[in-house]
């Protein structure tokens, strides 16, 4: 295609005042018109609104545009929308280029709008030079295995497996323990209904007897391969290696309770953990009369900054159960903030007060001190130290990430957050998705969750997984890496660095091959190749150099 045939349209977004309130949009619009190959340039109040999108579609046709640039916000959120808009107007979606003049410009240069406008000119110019070199790319089609793998046989995993199976999908449920049930097996009763935890385990029979569910107990995951629609999980079960294939994976590995050892003179007798209290209440006689619970032990501190979400309700539950059994019991909960969001839980907190549970607020800088027969605590409500007699102290320990979550995350190529809980694709709008397609998360593996939350999330993960495994074929990213077989020397640098395991070596030719379905086009292989043998489509060296050169003032 010669230069004369390239017709670029530049659409500049005000994003309300997000951009328009800082940068001089009309100046930018006029400037864009002066750039080579730009046939059309216009500003929109919101390019992403239907009005803006229509304008793109119409001008592709009317102006016969064959490259489109939108200078606006982040491709992370908006590139798919603009690409499909181009496609609707008959343009290959990869002939679209996005320039971020908001997150990287108007937002950071709010106080220096003139410099911001100059920077936007640079960014737009770079986009225009790159756009001239863009190529049409085709998205790949891959077939999908219509089944799912659920990792973890706790309440979240069991519910996920059952819900999938009820929708006629084949499910493999992988549990490392010798039986299903997870943490619930250790619980006495469950809030907010205060029914026996065993009621919640009834689902176990349904799962174990469902003909669509394949259960692998005492199974260790050895390896995970493949990609969206075509995953392969290799497990070790009874010393046998088993390969399971599925179109999607749901991670439901749960969390564990932090050990109370070393906190507050824990002794396992007069000072125990909340989980141990559960077990006592479940299995043996309970005799203590003055019971004091301490919340947020080992969390909401420097070491572990987070709130573990479920401990307040758990403490309230056990306090209520003990008090109902023995109205003469004196129960004190020493807390920091009572976390009982919503309708039912706040009602539950009120009920705990109604039956006479005593609440004392403490400050992290003045934590309670356990003495021989009483606890000394600085009571924030009284602004002074108060003694609380006890014969049993119960420590509320947080849920923490599973030890093996790091390993699993590596195998799945998904990230963890700082506390080693799994990190979702987007906190707000993709809460059970991973950035890696076809892998989903639910329950306490994601964040400490109670039963009702775990079930809700597991239903959600099922819904998200179903959007994949209900399809026969999937489209995957077209912007991928390509190896120049003449230049590759088979050094394997790229194989080692690829975060998606998308590259392998052809044993016959001794040079590397990219699996285009797995490749995300991230580009690390290209950057690491000593031979410059790898081209990343849509981010070719020519395209990037053109951007750099024009930024530096060259032609």
């Amino acid at each position: 295609m010669s230069d004369d045939d390239i017709r670029i349209g530049v659409f500049i977004c005000h994003c309300g005042t997000n951009i328009g309130g800082v940068l001089d949009i009309s100046e930018l619009t006029e400037y864009a018109k002066t750039l080579p190959n730009v046939e059309y340039s216009a500003a929109n109040l919101y390019t992403c609104s239907e009005v803006g999108l229509n304008e793109i579609r119409e001008n592709i046709k009317e102006q016969n545009l064959n490259r489109v640039i939108v200078a606006s916000c982040s491709p992370r959120t908006h590139e798919p929308l603009f690409r499909s808009t181009c496609q609707e107007a008959g343009l290959n979606p990869y002939l679209f280029e996005m320039v971020n003049i908001r997150d990287q410009d108007s937002w950071v240069h709010m106080k220096e709008p003139e410099k911001g406008t100059e920077k936007a000119k640079d960014l737009i110019r770079m986009g225009v030079y790159k756009a001239a070199l863009l190529e049409s790319l085709e998205k790949m089609q891959v077939s999908v295995i219509p089944s799912a793998i659920v990792i973890g046989g706790g309440i979240a995993g069991m519910n996920a497996a059952l819900t999938l199976a009820n929708q006629n999908f084949e499910v493999s449920l992988i549990e490392k323990d010798s039986e299903l049930g997870g943490l619930i097996r250790r619980l006495n009763k469950v809030y907010p209904t205060n029914e026996d935890a065993s009621n919640l385990l009834e689902i176990r029979n349904l799962v174990e007897n469902h003909k669509k569910i394949n259960i692998h107990k005492s199974a260790i995951i050895e390896k995970i391969e493949g990609f969206v629609g075509n995953y392969k999980v290799i497990i070790l079960q009874n010393k046998k290696t088993i390969e399971i294939e599925a179109g999607a994976i749901i991670v439901a590995t749960g969390a564990i309770a932090l050990s109370p050892e070393g906190y507050y003179d824990y002794n396992g007798k007069t000072i125990i953990s909340q989980l141990e209290l559960e077990e006592i209440l479940k299995e043996s006689e309970f005799s203590a009369n003055n019971i004091t619970m301490i919340q947020c032990v080992g969390c909401r501190n420097e070491e572990r900054k987070y709130c573990s979400n479920i401990c307040c309700m758990t403490a309230l539950k056990n306090a209520i159960l003990i008090k109902e059994q023995n109205p003469a019991a004196n129960i004190t909960i020493i807390f920091r903030d009572i976390q009982t969001q919503g309708v039912t839980y706040e009602e539950y907190y009120r009920k705990a007060r109604e039956i006479g549970i005593l609440f004392i607020k403490y400050l992290p800088e003045k934590p309670p001190i356990i003495k021989k027969d009483h606890i000394e605590v600085y009571n924030e409500f009284m602004n002074q130290v108060i003694g609380v007699p006890y014969d049993l102290v119960v420590l509320s320990m947080p849920l923490i990430a599973n030890e093996d979550s790091e390993q699993l995350a590596k195998m799945l190529k998904v990230p963890l957050e700082e506390n080693n809980f799994f990190l979702e694709a987007h906190v707000k709008l993709r809460p059970v998705d991973f950035a890696t397609d076809g892998v989903f998360v639910c329950g306490s593996a994601h964040w400490p969750a109670d039963i009702s939350e775990s079930i809700s999330q597991s239903n959600a993960a099922v819904s998200r997984a179903s959007t994949i495994i209900s399809k026969d074929m999937l489209e995957v990213e077209g912007s991928t890496a390509e190896v120049d077989t003449d230049l590759c020397v088979g050094c394997e640098a790229c194989i080692k660095i690829c975060p998606y395991s998308a590259i392998s070596k052809d044993e016959e030719t001794d040079i590397v091959v990219v699996n285009k379905v797995v490749c995300k086009g991230c580009g690390v292989c290209g950057a690491s190749c000593p031979q410059n043998a790898i081209t990343i489509h849509h981010f070719t060296s020519d395209q990037l150099i053109a951007e750099i050169v024009t930024y530096g003032g060259g032609e």
Partner: protein, 431 residues
């Protein structure tokens, strides 16, 4: 029994309804999305930013709106309400009342000429009545579908048989005063309720002065005031004198955790007041904020760290102590009388602007819809879900998600929505 219909009706086009619809549509199940207003988007479209990432709300919502609008498996029923339900799970018959828009949907190109010429000024509900819109209007700039609507209650043609100026200026001849309300019948296998929530009106708590003191506003009003596309164009000023406020106070639990109003916790206020204080600070680094609270509820992922960031980087002071009384000085500055429980001192503090974190309350028509659908509400008029399967309503084949069943934030609404979609799909796979 015949095969169940592979079709779901979703009631409510907020983020929950949108997510449920998209999930179902993506797996090739047909969706009828019923929206009462002229545009989908719901409450999330009204928000400026969202916690804890401080993403611009409409920016992350807009792609979903567009996706919903363009998806071949989703049929949008705008200005529509459910009037009747019969049949059984797997095969429900629903009667929908679709109100006339008085606009030819295929003709309107949202050029805005009609808005310019329309002489009627009406309180803009989307902007919390903080500015006026016209009688022909679009809910908000990015609204989907992005076409006009004529508001029958206020249009001069309908009220006084006059005007019709929009008809004259519309180059596309898209105005159609002859349109009439229609009744549509749908046939669906299962139903998802995602009707969202209303906001508690703090006027009834007289001692806080809302409605009497101009510089006492609600949190959702604040979202509009500080939003770039809101009535102030994003430059926050206070209502009484248009000065830049420097000292802000947020009062949490207004109308919630309160036996006299709503006993429940509204779930999101601790977080959104923090967010609003952060945004205010980002707009003007001289702003200092006090947030008055009972318990700081921040149990979600990254929420505690968010609060800490507020303290460290955004000049936010959290004061444990609920405010019962606000007075006003002769400069119209709100005076807050409060107890700082950490010292037990009772003080009076002057602020430039006070923001009330008003609780989420059930939709006022929840009762009517529950009756139509034959599902139960809880004591407060939220749709009642099962304890451990909260997306399941009291009636088979009807599912719940989002704040229509309990106050919740956006991620939980999205989880709920996907969860409800899974359950709604499960029904269709049977039979």
């Amino acid at each position: 029994m015949g095969e169940n219909l592979k079709r779901v009706m979703v009631i409510g086009g907020g983020i929950a309804g949108i997510q449920a619809s998209l999930d179902l549509a993506e797996r090739n199940i047909k969706v009828d999305l019923i929206e009462k207003n002229a545009c989908i988007g719901g409450r999330m479209a009204q928000l400026d930013k969202t916690f804890p990432t401080n993403d611009c709300s409409i920016c992350i919502l807009a792609p979903k709106l567009a996706e919903c609008f363009r998806h071949p498996n989703i049929t949008l029923h705008i200005l529509s309400e459910v009037k009747n339900l019969s049949g059984q799970p797997g095969n429900f018959k629903v009667k929908i009342l679709k109100k006339a828009r008085y606009i030819k949907e295929d003709e309107c190109i949202n050029c805005g000429l009609c808005i310019e010429k329309c002489p009627m000024r009406v309180d803009d509900e989307f902007d919390m009545r903080l500015r006026k819109r016209r009688a022909i209007y679009i809910d908000y700039v990015q609204g989907v579908p992005s076409i006009m609507t004529i508001d029958r209650e206020n249009c001069l043609f309908f009220t006084k048989n006059a005007c019709r100026i929009c008809e004259k200026v519309c180059e596309k001849e898209a105005i159609d005063f002859d349109q009439i309300d229609e009744e549509i019948e749908l046939n669906v296998g299962s139903i998802i309720v995602a009707t969202g929530y209303d906001i508690f009106n703090p006027k009834s708590i007289e001692t806080l002065g809302y409605g009497r003191y101009p510089n006492v506003i609600t949190a959702l009003e604040f979202e509009r005031l500080i939003c770039a596309s809101g009535p102030l164009g994003g430059h926050l000023t206070r209502p009484s004198d248009k000065n830049d406020p420097k000292k802000l106070a947020f009062i949490n639990c207004v109308g919630s955790r309160d036996i006299k109003n709503n006993p429940y916790c509204s779930s999101c206020c601790c977080m959104y007041t923090t967010k609003e204080a952060m945004i205010a600070f980002e707009h003007d680094n001289e702003i200092e904020t006090s947030i008055f609270y009972i318990d700081l509820r921040a149990a979600g992922k990254g929420f505690r760290e968010y609060i800490q960031r507020g303290v460290n980087n955004y000049a936010i002071k959290y004061i444990k102590g609920k405010v019962a009384k606000i007075l006003e000085d002769d400069q119209r500055n709100p005076l807050i009388i409060y107890e700082d429980i950490s010292t037990s001192q009772v003080k009076q503090l002057k602020f430039d602007l006070v923001i009330l974190a008003t609780t989420m309350v059930p939709k006022k028509d929840a009762n009517e819809l529950a009756k139509t659908l034959g599902v139960k509400l809880d004591n407060f008029n939220f749709f009642k879900g099962e304890s451990f399967h909260p997306q399941k309503s009291s009636k088979e084949g009807i599912f719940l998600c989002g704040a229509c069943r309990e106050p919740m934030d956006i991620p939980n609404s999205v989880i709920d929505a996907s969860g409800a979609a899974a359950k709604a799909a499960e029904i269709l796979m049977r039979g």
